[in-house]
């Protein structure tokens, strides 16, 4: 007969992996948002400069968008998985 502890083991392991990634990506994401607020004024000035005709840094918002979405996207994905919300398997 299988012991109850053995039955729980795989589930426990999966949850801890998702939680670990949630914490890891959560910290990275938080760091990115802190940077965004610290450089709030610089970002605003950059857009104003682009609007006035200096196109040197026009692509920076796109790079910011891609980096944030990858890190924050991974975080939010693991976040719900860690909470046990998963898609229905057909």
């Amino acid at each position: 007969m299988t012991k109850p502890a053995d039955k729980l083991a795989p589930g426990r392991k999966m949850l801890s992996t998702a939680t670990l990634y949630t914490i890891l990506y959560g910290c990275l994401s938080l760091g990115l948002y802190i940077l965004l607020f610290v450089f709030n004024d610089e970002i605003r000035h950059m857009a104003e400069a682009t609007s006035r005709g200096d196109k040197t840094l026009f692509f920076i918002p796109i790079i910011i968008a891609l980096v944030f979405s990858l890190v924050h996207g991974a975080f939010t994905g693991y976040f719900w998985e860690a909470l046990g919300l998963k898609a229905k398997k057909k």
Binding site: S29, Y33, L36, F37, N40, I43, R44, A47, E48, A49, T50, S51, R52, K55, F58, F59, I60, P61, I62, I64, A65, L66, F68, S69, L70, H72, G73, F75, T76, G77, F79, W80, L85, K86, A87, K88, K90
Partner: protein, 363 residues
Amino acid sequence: MEAVNFLDLNATTVFLLFLVGFIGGMVSGFIGSGGAFVLTPAMMSLGAPGVIAVASNMAHKFPKALVASIKRNKYGQVDIKLGLIMGIFAEIGVFVGKEFMTNIRTNFGDTGTDLYVSVVFIVVLALVGGYVLRDAFRCKREGGDVEGAEHITPRLAKWVQSINIPGTMMSFHSIGGKRVSVLFIAPLGFATGLLAASIAVGGFIGVPAMMYVLGVPALMASATELVVAFVMGMGGSLFYAWEGFVDIRLAMIILAGSLFGVQIGAIGTTYVRDYTVKMIMGMIMIIVLFSRLFEMPVYLSDLDLISTISEGTSSLLSNISFGTLALALLSGAFAILAALLKGIKQHKKQQADAEYAASVAES
């Protein structure tokens, strides 16, 4: 050209943007149309000029579309080939639309873009929202309530699939491997892009076009639209960033909330039936329409197109507009969560019943 007018960020604005992003994301993951149709008006209600709202929305939308399409591709709901082809034509539409918007801003200022964005919203929401809602009720009546019910190809789509133009035919797995001419896809993609550059929402044309003109099932159409949204959103963001219209701070705060929401929305689609997606989509569209309608006299008055209305009336109309939008967001969020929870409950019950039946059969 007047200076770029970015919002000042304080704790309340950040919180509201995060919340609006979360609910908008949930709606977007669920119905596939970017969710910008609630986000653009919400940003405008918080004080961002129309052009900044549209540009910033596009910048938050394309990376989100990437995340959501990867997720829904895992559920087998995405037709990547169709998405990429429509996306390329949409890109051309985005370029034309962005040029148009820039010209309006140069000639009529920020209020000009506000009025333009609102008028396009009202017309499109009335047409598409009404059609989607009518279709959702029809589907429900005609047996759409049976889970896994066979997808019925609309009459128009049957005709489109029957036309053979040599040298332009391509097959798509989302319509059961049937062939459609690229010449039909090109205008659909172009219109999707044109609308995306005007109001940051392309899905209002893209999703119904795939469903009713090409014959793609609703769930697959909404998932494939995410690929289109990524392709055209990235191009559109570059076009707008070139003009300095992208407020990336605003876009990233909305993204913070919406990526939480988009995951729930995408998971939700796996638990509901096709007509539920349509019904919720239609309902939100109609409520947002009224939200924009209440702002119209304010813009018209600012541009001296009607006699000037008093400041009190103007602020009252803006508040009613914001309240209506909040109603759309909250009722949409409630409907999606309710559908998701109901689906999970039913799924668990079915699993329990199956396990019980198996154990009875064994004994």
